[in-house]
């Protein structure tokens, strides 16, 4: 299981996925709208994930 944390709003969900793309697909999110941070490091959208990884989603749009 991957722990997915939406940093804006501080919402956490558990997802069974093997890559960032798969997380995005399962949660129906638009990848353009997030920067992905795996275990504290910025990663690409095609980054593989393994059981126990923590994936933080940093929302791109901000301000007005």
């Amino acid at each position: 299981m991957i722990t997915v944390v939406f940093l804006r709003g501080n919402r956490t969900v558990e997802v069974d996925a093997a890559s960032v793309q798969e997380v995005s697909s399962k949660l129906s999110i638009i990848r353009e709208q997030y920067v992905f941070i795996k275990n504290g490091k910025i990663v690409c959208e095609d980054e593989p994930l393994v059981d126990g990884d923590r994936l933080e989603l940093f929302t791109v749009a901000s301000g007005g």
Partner: protein, 299 residues
């Protein structure tokens, strides 16, 4: 995933080029592109005085950071202007981020508030009329920035508008049928009146997502919250549409801006007058008898 240039872990996959970038090579790509834009678009002249508009978000603070680096290689003067619109629960922490990062960069800054300039905060201006917040804020903020930049004898006003902002404005102006705004482009203010400080947007060719990655990668202090009035704005909806298009059809955002820039000279010629009048109340440039700022203040 590994960087296409070295074997370090990649932090960004650029879909239009098919390149993976590690932190170091992403920085290198980003800074080279920034320098190229400033040089090729001739944005800053030698020894010119530049005012940089800073909100405390990632765009304006990335811009301030890059301009500061440019200053080490190219002689020009720079001061920052921070506008405090008076938005409770939001502006105070964005101001803190702006002050902290500008302090670290050693950039002198000036804080201009709506309260001091107009007698009340944005919250007061738009009470029970929140859907007009962005329009009101935009008019008043542009006025304050221009006035302060002029007072500081700056000949350029640099803003952190990114590619997403530019694309959203193109679509929004079209959807509103606002042909004048659609036809202005970035040289409009320079052309139309010498009372406007010329605006430059050095980040207008950078995706918003790339700017976030740059700011995080360089550990800049910035505020990442959303303005409480953003929920009333059309911009957010248009932004989501463009994000979906970019995801399914990479380079959409670049193509939109590039196509727009190509037709802009023709639009300019057709819809933008050579000069405009001045407001009968304040004497600032306007297309109508009374400028938008004075109309807002009269309400």
């Amino acid at each position: 995933m590994k960087c296409s240039r070295c074997r370090r872990d990649a932090i960004y996959f650029q879909r239009q080029s098919g390149q993976h970038y590690c932190g170091e090579h992403f920085n290198s790509y980003f800074k080279k592109k920034f320098m190229r834009v400033v040089r090729e678009d001739n944005l800053i002249k030698k020894n010119e005085r530049v005012a940089v508009a800073v909100s405390g978000g990632k765009d304006s603070l990335t811009l301030a950071y890059l301009l500061k680096e440019l200053q080490a290689r190219y002689p020009f003067e720079m001061e920052a202007i921070i506008v405090d619109e008076g938005i409770s629960g939001y502006r105070s922490h964005t101001l803190d981020a702006a002050k902290k990062q500008l302090g670290e960069l050693g950039i002198e800054y000036h804080i201009e508030s709506f309260k001091d300039n107009f007698g009340k905060t944005l919250d007061c201006f738009v009470k029970n009329n929140e859907e007009n917040a962005c329009a009101t804020c935009g008019v008043l903020r542009r006025y304050v920035l221009n006035k302060k930049a002029r007072e500081l004898s700056c000949t350029k006003l640099a803003t952190g508008h990114n590619l997403d902002d530019e694309d959203q404005s193109i679509i929004m102006n079209l959807m509103r049928g606002d042909v004048i705004r659609f036809s202005r482009g970035q040289n409009y203010y320079k052309k139309i009146s010498d009372k406007f400080v010329e605006r430059i947007k050095p980040l207008r060719y950078f995706l918003e997502k790339e700017i976030v990655i740059f700011a995080l990668n360089n550990k800049l202090t910035f505020d990442s919250s959303e303005c409480p009035y953003a929920e009333y704005a059309m911009r957010g909806e248009v932004g989501k549409f463009l994000d979906r298009m970019e995801e399914s059809r990479p380079t959409t955002k670049y193509s939109l801006l590039s196509g727009y820039d190509k037709i802009l000279p023709a639009l300019n010629k057709s819809f933008i007058p050579e000069s405009i009048g001045v407001c009968e109340i304040c004497g600032e440039p306007t297309m109508d008898g009374t400028c938008m700022r004075c109309k807002i203040l009269e309400k």
